[in-house]
């Protein structure tokens, strides 16, 4: 898709808003009932990825903790915290042999979020904020979302908007051209005035702005007593520094910091359906998502799932998902960057901008306890649930350029393991409602 950056930006943001507006104006909220509830929710996810070389893999531990408290009959206040502890091997240079030059890294990111939700009899309105901080990245986000059930309560419309004010620490390259730019090495100060505001240090490190605007609209529809479907449209515009400041790309013998466009517009269309099977107390799930962006990445996702109750308290869900994307227009396999140069002004060593296929499969066990007579669990809670989930990932990197012309191949241009299963997650969650 080609159009000017500003025109594309408006189009990508406007689509999810214009479409629901065609449905009709949102009805005014009726007399409110009490829907707010108290809850404590905690989940920890362990992600482990295999990598080539003898520096180990990639490990991410992601704890999340959220609490929701009634502050009135129709209002809930939410507070949350999450973190990412990341460590492992990383490729320092995108080249035909990224394995030999790989290094190790560690990082720790903290994030907090808060929100307030107002409930009506057929509608909700939420306002939220979030912050995130790590040594070389700051983020501040605000958002608003609204949801309403149309009369008859078989159709629900939801609309949301989020804006992010991010900052990325970069090496101070001054007026260097794209192929002269040097990467961040971890030795730079990345100084901060406060937890969330960076401070430039001349000839050392500077903070670059990154602005994110995202909107999403969904329509959820009861199709029958046992079938519900949802269609959603997502649009996002990202403006600012989007390169990985640590990553170098070998272009015609020069190892320069990767150089990405400053504007990216994204659109995704999603459709999913759930079908209940009352005879065997189970449900089937299906989803489809199509995605495109102004960098030329196009993707399709198809997912299937199945949920089965065993008695009243045990629930098993299985899921499978296949995803395939095309490469960004300026992406090349490393051999061609080295021998031909870049495809224009931009060049990247980001695996996620190449041509890839990702297959995910998993299972989730849940133990759910509530008192069917309306009493309390453990004398305190309305409901208690424990969840254990595991998923495996099979990632294939596909050639972006004619493989028959690539004398070095693509097997070592990324650190991906090349094994059948290259990553897995384990997730443990607990939820208490009271």
């Amino acid at each position: 898709m080609k159009c000017s950056a500003s025109l594309c930006g408006l189009a990508y943001l406007a689509l999810p808003i214009v479409l629901p507006a065609m449905v009709g104006a949102i009805a005014p909220a009726a007399v409110s009932d009490a829907y707010a509830e108290d809850r404590v929710d905690s989940t920890t996810t362990w992600y482990q990825e295999r990598r080539k070389g003898n520096l180990g893999g990639l490990t991410v531990v992601h704890p999340q903790f959220d609490i929701g408290v009634d502050v009135g009959e129709n209002t809930t206040l939410d507070l949350g915290y999450s973190a990412d502890a990341v460590s492992g091997a990383t490729a320092a240079v995108y080249s035909t042999d990224a394995v030999s030059s790989a290094t190790t890294f560690k990082d720790l990111r903290h994030a907090a979020n808060t929100g307030i939700t107002f409930y009506g009899s057929r509608s909700t309105l939420s306002i939220s904020g979030n912050i995130g901080t790590e040594r070389d990245y700051n983020s501040i986000g605000v958002g608003v979302s609204a949801k309403i059930d149309l009369p008859g309560k078989n159709t629900a419309l939801a609309l949301s908007y989020n804006h992010g004010f991010d900052q990325v620490c970069d090496f101070d390259n001054g007026m260097a051209t794209a192929l002269e730019r040097r990467p961040l090495t971890g030795q730079q100060a990345c100084k901060k005035k406060s937890m969330l505001l960076g401070e430039d240090v001349k000839d050392d490190s500077i903070w670059r702005d990154l602005s994110l605007d995202a909107t999403q609209a969904t329509i959820t529809q009861n199709l029958s007593p046992s079938v519900v479907a949802q269609v959603g449209l997502f649009g996002q515009v990202i403006r600012g520094f989007q390169s990985n400041p640590y990553r170098r790309v070998r272009v015609s013998g020069v190892e320069a910091q990767e150089h990405l466009p400053n504007v990216r517009g994204r659109v995704a269309l999603m459709a999913r359906v759930n079908k209940y099977l009352p005879e065997i107390k189970s449900a089937m799930h299906a989803m489809f998502r199509g995605y495109t962006d102004t960098w030329g990445v196009n993707s399709v996702t198809v997912g299937l799932g199945y949920s089965q109750y065993f008695g009243n308290s045990l629930l098993l869900r299985t899921n499978a998902r296949i995803y395939q994307q095309s490469e960004a227009t300026f992406f090349k396999d490393a051999f061609f960057y080295e021998t031909e140069g870049s495809a224009g002004e931009y060049f990247t060593g980001d695996r996620e901008l190449g041509a890839i296929r990702n297959i995910v499969g998993g299972m989730k066990f849940s133990y759910i306890k509530f008192d069917e007579d309306g009493g309390n669990v453990l004398g305190v809670f309305d409901e208690v649930s424990f969840n254990l989930k595991g998923e495996v990932y099979l990632l294939d990197e596909l050639p972006a350029d004619p493989i028959e012309d690539n004398r070095e191949g693509i097997d070592r241009q990324f650190l991906s393991s090349g094994q059948a299963v290259d990553a897995f997650t384990l997730q443990l969650g607990m939820l208490f409602r009271y």
């Binding site: 689509l15 065609m22 989940t43 996810t45 078989n154 159709t155 759930n274 995605y291 901008l353 997730q427």
Partner: protein
């Protein structure tokens, strides 16, 4: 893409008036396994992982809605 959205919306809304589900028929729709994104933290964690492994982001939907079971 835009016209596909219009058609999808029209299809969904065309069903709502003619085949409306009565309140007494919503027992199964109210079940947790019929809710989209019932586990918000699981959804957020999955999005976090996938957006770092894949070049696309967003469009994974919003939770709840449509049951009208309250």
């Amino acid at each position: 893409m835009f016209f596909a959205c219009v058609l999808a919306t029209g299809f969904l809304l065309g069903a709502c008036g003619k085949q409306a589900v009565r309140a007494s028929e919503k027992e199964f729709l109210a079940d947790r396994i019929m809710q989209f994104d019932a586990d918000g933290q699981e959804t957020a964690a999955d999005e976090h992982i996938l957006s770092n492994r894949e070049g696309s982001s967003g469009g994974r939907g919003t939770g709840g809605g449509g049951c009208g079971c309250n």
